[in-house]
């Protein structure tokens, strides 16, 4: 399959505009920043620690935002019959996916960086290389999960219905892990739980790269790539 930089760039510009103008996609990063800001201002500092706020924000942005930026635009393209037009205008699947993922990833990275000062965390407390790699990787996994949802959805409503339980599992499990040991154990094997634990450890104790964290993230990455390739090869982006 040939890749044309010109076409990838055209899709990138199109997707950037479509993400920015789609309220249902922008709600995740806006909520991430907004909630963190409101909680920081309105709740006592003892409860709303920097680690909690940053973890909360990253969950909203990279996990929820990632899944939504993957699923909604693809479902919207199908719903409005524009995906078929693109695919019959000399764009191949790989060019479409690469051009679509780049603006989503950039948005996730920017918001993940902005969240640090908004959560009131000192910039020098962040292990930036690992923070960026882990959060970007989790955003990428979320986008792939979003694409899988998008492949199986015919419209945005269906994408929303399919996304909701998955969003709840990945965002709520790490949030409620302090309630009991079983949830904590389950959360440690999810990519979202790994991110929360990493942020907690980074900001409370000195974080050293953990084999289990890397294994969990890589397993989720490989799994999501395999399922995505299976779904794509079986149904294409816009199957009959």
């Amino acid at each position: 399959m040939n890749l044309s930089l010109r076409k990838i760039n055209a899709i990138f510009q199109l997707k950037l505009q479509s993400i920015i103008t789609n309220v249902s996609i922008m709600v995740a990063p806006m909520l991430a920043v907004g909630f963190v800001l409101i909680m920081k201002i309105s709740m006592p500092k003892e409860v709303m620690t920097g680690a909690f706020l940053l973890g909360f924000g990253v969950l909203f942005n990279a996990i929820m935002g990632g899944i939504m930026t993957g699923s909604y635009p693809l479902a919207e393209e199908k719903e409005k019959n524009t995906l078929r037009v693109l695919m019959t205008s000399s764009v191949n699947g790989a060019e479409f996916i690469i051009g679509s993922i780049i603006p989503s990833i950039i948005m996730i990275i920017i918001v993940n960086i902005i969240l640090v000062p908004i959560a009131g965390v000192s910039m020098d407390k962040i292990n930036w290389p690992i923070y960026l790699i882990y959060t970007t990787l989790s955003g990428f996994i979320s986008i792939l999960i979003g694409y899988i949802i998008g492949i199986y959805s015919k419209n945005q409503m269906q994408a929303g219905n399919l996304s909701m339980p998955i969003l709840l599992i990945f965002t709520m499990t790490p949030m409620f892990q302090m309630i009991n040991k079983t949830i904590q154990n389950i959360a440690s094997y999810t990519y979202s739980g790994t991110i929360i634990n990493f942020i907690n450890n980074m900001l409370t104790i000195k974080y050293t790269v953990d084999f289990k964290d890397i294994t969990v993230l890589m397993t989720w990455l490989i799994l999501s790539i395999i399922v995505f390739i299976y779904a794509y090869s079986k149904h294409g982006l816009d199957s009959e």
Binding site: N9, Q13, K80, T82, R84, V85, T88, S89, S90, V91
Partner: protein, 284 residues
Amino acid sequence: MTQTDLINVQHLSKHFKDHSALKDLSFSIKAGEIFGFLGPSGAGKTTTIKILTGQLKQTTGSASVLGVPIEKINEAIYEQIGIVTHNSGLYDKLSVYKNLEIFAKLLGINKSRIDEILKRVGLFEDRNKAAGKLSQGMRQRLVLARAVLHKPKVLFLDEPASGLDPSTQIEIHRLIIELKNNGTAIFLTTHNMEEADKLCDHLALLNDGKIVETGTPRELRLNHNKKKRYKILLKNNEEVTLSQSMETTQKINWWMTSNELVTIHSCEPTLETVFLEVTGRKLI
């Protein structure tokens, strides 16, 4: 396949689980020719376009577009073909201009061509308007503009003027004829017999996935003009319809000589009548 055949179809069939959508279709289309598929809804017109544009696989038979067998169609061929369907989507939040700009970038086309085509379809004044705010007729003109932005060699039009007001239909027909005159091979599907009659060089009547008759619109009408009749308007406002006979010839001769005859029209069947005669069903 001759050298100028841009589309060639041989014994093409498509079976879905419970029915046959297309049965043994064969036809070819040359450069600068409009080939029409005339048939009612569900006859297999859109399925044919989907197969010829690589969006659907045929069950049996073979076809090629621009010399490329349809099994080997990939994204490269879309740089030379344009597709307009009745549900071709637009990016509603983007302006008219931006909608074309995306495709100009994708296809590596100079931006000056955007203004040129917008002027041609009468949307230049509305170039900054959001596509979502366009009327149905304007949307269809924009879809057509996008399909011909890259000056395709082959154009697939699936009911391009369906549901449009008469003036927009005329405008779209004018554009289609202009494209044909510039050498584009056009595959047009329609259930509108007037559209087919006006635009098409060759027609295939499609019923239940099968071509039941082919020819030029005139050939089709004349071949089925078995009972030759003439509708005559006389000076006294009397309207008479007469079959061809020696008596009719004499009557017409007399009315013409005595200056009684105001109008005279032959009553060859319309394409709709031909379709009804051949298939036993209407073109709806």
